[in-house]
Symmetry: none
Amino acid sequence: MPNLTDCIEDYLKKLLALSCEPYVEVQRRELAKKFACVPSQINYVLERRFSPERGYLVESRRGGGGWIRIFRLKTSQASPWREVIESLNGREYEPSRVRQLLKRLYEEKIISRRESFLLETVTRDRIYEEKGLSKKKAREIQHELLNEALEELLKVSY
Amino acid sequence: MPNLTDCIEDYLKKLLALSCEPYVEVQRRELAKKFACVPSQINYVLERRFSPERGYLVESRRGGGGWIRIFRLKTSQASPWREVIESLNGREYEPSRVRQLLKRLYEEKIISRRESFLLETVTRDRIYEEKGLSKKKAREIQHELLNEALEELLKVSY
DNA sequence: TATCGTCTGACCATCTCTGACCTTAATTTA
DNA sequence: TAAATTAAGGTCAGAGATGGTCAGACGATA
C-alpha cells in the first residue's frame, strides 16, 4: 500500500495528464481536505515529487482566492544538455537532487540506463570518506566530475 | 532442516518465479515478522543470496511506506566484465593503461563510445590537483571510482 | 577446535507526516 | 481610504516509520 505522498503525487500527475493546459491549478486547502491531511503535506509532496530536477515548476499565490499551479516542463529538443548543466549549477550541489535529475534524464531517453548508473557512482561519498576527505571537499570534487562528464556527453550524440 | 537464510531465499525466489514483473517487492519489516527474525536478517539474505554476482539487483526505499525490490538480471554478459575488472586490479593503476583498456572495450563493443568518454573523465588529474590532493591520493580515488563504475556496468544489461 | 556461514541487536540514515507559527492578498469595516 | 479581518499559502522543527550497517555472539562442520 503506497503512502500518502505517493497517492497525492499520482493524483496530481493524472490531473496533469488530463489537463488541456501545460499545467494544473489546485488549492492547497482543498487538496489537503480531499486526502484528509494537513495542508503542509501538500508542500512536502510538491517539494519531493515536483521539483525542477524531476521536470516540474510550481507557482503559487497566497491570500483570498489563492492557488497553486504545477507546470510540466519540457526539455527543449534543441539543446537539452545546456539546460541540464545549468540546472545542476543553478542550485547548490546535492547528491540526492542529482540522482533525481539522472532518473529524469533516463526517463526522457536523454541518457541510457547504463549511463545513469555510471554517473550515479560519482555522487557516492564512500570513497572520499575512506580517503579521509571532508564532506565539503568531496562534494566539490563530485560536482566538478559530474560537470566534466556531462560536458563529454554533450560532445557525443547518442 | 534448512536454516532461516535458505528458507527466506526460497520464499523470495518463489515469489520471483510467480511474479509477472521482472522483480518482487517486499517490506523488510513484514518479511522479518513472517519469518520471526530481526529485520537485519533480511539484509543478510539479500547480501548473500541476491548479490550482483548471482544475477540480482536490489533497490530499496526507507521511510513510511518503504520497500525492497529484488530484480532478476540477465547474466549473459557477466563473465567478460569480471575479467576486465580483474585485469585492472592485477597491475598498478595507471591512467594511460586505463585509457588503452577503455579503447579496447569500445572497439570490442563491450561499452559504447559515450560510456568510454564518461569513464575517461574519471582518469583525469586536473580536478584533484586544483583541490590540492597529492597525486597518490588522486590515483587511489580514481582507481576506486573506476572499479565502482565498472561494477555498475556489470549489473546493468544493455 | 578453527573457520566460515548465520543470526541478533544497538545504532544510524532517510523518507513521511503533523502542527505551530509566519507571510501575503483580498475583503470588510470604521 | 486606512485599519482590521478573513482567507489563502509557506516554513520549519520534530515525531513517526521504514530500511541499512556493523560488530560480535552463535552454531555447523571440516
